[in-house]
Amino acid sequence: MFKKYTRTAFSVLLCHSAFAYAAGGVNNATAFNPALSLILSGTYGNLQQDPSIPATGFAMNPNSGHDQGFNLGESELGIAADIDPEYRGVATFSLSPAGGVSVENAFVQSTALGNGLNLEFGRFFSALGYLNNQHAHTWDFVDQPLVYSTFWNNQLGEDGMQLKWLAPTDMFIELGAETGKGRGFPGSDTPQNGSGANVLFAHFGDDIGIEQSWRVGLSLHQAKRLKAISTAVPDLLNSVGGVSDSFTGLSKTTGLDFVWKYSPNGNIQDRYLKLQGEYFERNENGLLTYNTAATGVTDRYSVVQSGWYIQSVYQFMPHWRTGLRYDRLDPGTAKIGARNASNLIANYEFNPQRSTWMLDYSASEFSHFRFQFAQDDSRKGLSGKQFFVQYIMAMGAHGAHSY
């Protein structure tokens, strides 16, 4: 009996978010249940170098590194449904293997504005860049590019609102703006009146015949950083274990992204080639307090960091794909006020880089196994190889993927 009900429920869930069938023939209480999905994932990692060491020159950025050995990934529970004729709700909960639940996404979308307008509010992944709002289970590699892990702590999640407008043109032209708390790095998640971070983005895209399609994007991000603490930052005095610094200032990031896809006859089920790349440049300007644990010396600090990646994924036969990625970061040369000139490292004289190869197999669109090998040179003097095996499995309603 229970089984029968669950199946009916699932059948309803499967179609509910997508199509509201009048003639579905299901008229029980479960018909109004939202679409439910659960992603199960895990990795095995073999890393030559300690993943807790940050990329050289990026000790004040997040290090959303890797896990060694067998590791249950975050299980992701997704719920989505229309709320009423005007709104749709989406929530994604991340179940940590150590226990505990975090809210990854919880947003409401307008469905009745029309005129090409879409309003979203709540907690969402920012639409900046190309990869930022893609969920981890749709990534082409086990990990995010270095520029995403260091610049956005893998993905920029925001508490706030987003408004975007799609132009009524043959070509895809989308303009959007976001304003929010500044929850994710480089925002400092500080309670305050007004907004802590703002984003502007523009996307352009089209097809070239039936075999090729492309999208190009431009993003601007700005965040107020208030007493943003970084720990274990190396300094000129070679303090053991580094020191803690605090930064208050403005962070401005410009991003460019592109993706181009090719598929013979446009039949992506058979074979396709995808080429994508993104570039981000961040300008940070403000006051830095050196060694907050001790006396703390505050002076001006500004730096321009940049990073980019280019990657290509090729599905050479149904179910099998392989991909290559090259990553590179530039920590820049910091301009440091005189009082901290002998404390802080201005120039690391090193550009972190990494080359990655992956191979994955998907028995269906719901199950994926991936092997990944990387030559990681993101830490000065600590070159290392990384090997991963990953599985990603999706159960329940599986929403359509974005481009």
Binding site: P168, A400, S402
Partner: protein, 305 residues
């Protein structure tokens, strides 16, 4: 400051003027998910509509991406004509959401599902992903039975009248003509296809239940172990064994599918491999709805030899 705002507003309006095309007469913009519905809309509406076809005959209709171009086309559509029955579940929901177009959302007048007008076959009695790519509402490949077009056309024509009432008489006339011509064509095809009745076939994908139902073909087995899964070597060996016990005359596949599994079986079981256009554009002969069935019937008859 005011000056700045004025300049910005002025610049924006000039920019918008470039973006928004001025359309000379009020044609309906139709977004057809598959080529067969684009053709049917043409038959029923002639030059009263601009039709954009979202997918091609050589694309697997289950696997299409929500490309930026599709979203842009959906933005300006007055009517969406799709198969439904979850065939487009992998991409259409995203396209509709991102389009910011309220008129073509499910439940609205601008949203039309062909599958809702016909009798569905192969409606699963159990829903489990272990059974592969099954569709809760039944097999969505309804376009392989020409009789279904009569049902779809009737409802679609009414929908065109609803959206564009000033051309009601035109749509009514077009429908009557189509209905007449199409019934005559069906009678012709049925006569031609008489030798196919009761003929045993193998199919690569479960894409032809409506065709079987129409022509009385008997499906012995399927090359895909489960719907949507590639035929494996071990499964093909089983199919070969089945064919020794229950012989078939030909193996059918749609134009978008890989030829290899069909050819492999055809060689070993000494039967014909027949590639059907499946939709308009799937073969050189299938240029519109009429030639789609002319070509399909001809290919099936050739498969008997």
């Amino acid at each position: 400051m005011n000056f700045k705002i004025n300049v910005a507003a002025c610049g924006l309006s000039v920019f918008m003027a470039f973006l928004i095309p001025v359309s000379a007469h009020a044609e309906l913009n139709v977004f057809a998910c598959e080529p067969e519905w684009a053709s049917l809309t043409h038959e029923l509406a002639g030059d009263k509509v601009n039709v954009y076809t979202a997918t091609g005959a050589l694309q697997d209709p289950h696997h299409v991406e929500a490309r930026p171009s599709l979203i842009a086309k959906a933005r300006r559509a007055n009517l969406l004509v799709c198969t439904g029955a979850e065939l487009e579940i992998g991409w259409l929901p995203v396209v509709l959401r991102e389009s910011g177009n309220t008129t073509i959302q499910p439940g609205g007048d601008g949203y039309f599902e062909a599958a809702s007008t016909v009798r569905m076959l192969e409606v699963p009695t159990r829903l489990d992903r272990a059974d592969g790519d099954v569709h809760a509402q039944g097999n969505p490949h309804i376009q392989t039975d020409p009789r279904n077009f009569l049902l779809v056309a009737k409802v679609l024509s009414k929908r065109l009248e609803l959206l564009d009432p000033s051309n009601t008489a035109f749509y009514e006339q077009r429908f009557v003509e189509f209905d007449q011509h199409w019934r005559a064509a069906i009678a012709k095809w049925e006569l031609q296809a008489a030798p196919l009745k009761g003929v045993s076939i193998v199919v690569q994908h479960k894409g032809f239940p409506y065709l079987n139902d129409w022509l009385g073909l008997k499906e012995v087995t399927t090359l895909e172990p489960k719907p949507g899964m590639e035929p494996s070597a071990s499964h093909l060996a089983e199919v070969l064994e089945t064919l020794q016990k229950h012989p078939a005359r030909m193996v059918l596949r749609a134009a978008y599918q890989s030829a290899r599994p069909s050819e492999w079986i055809a060689q070993r079981a000494h039967i014909s491999a027949v590639e059907l256009p499946f939709t308009v554009g799937g073969s050189d002969g299938a240029k519109d709805l009429y030639s789609l069935f002319d070509d399909s019937v001809a290919r099936l008859l050739a498969g008997l030899k």
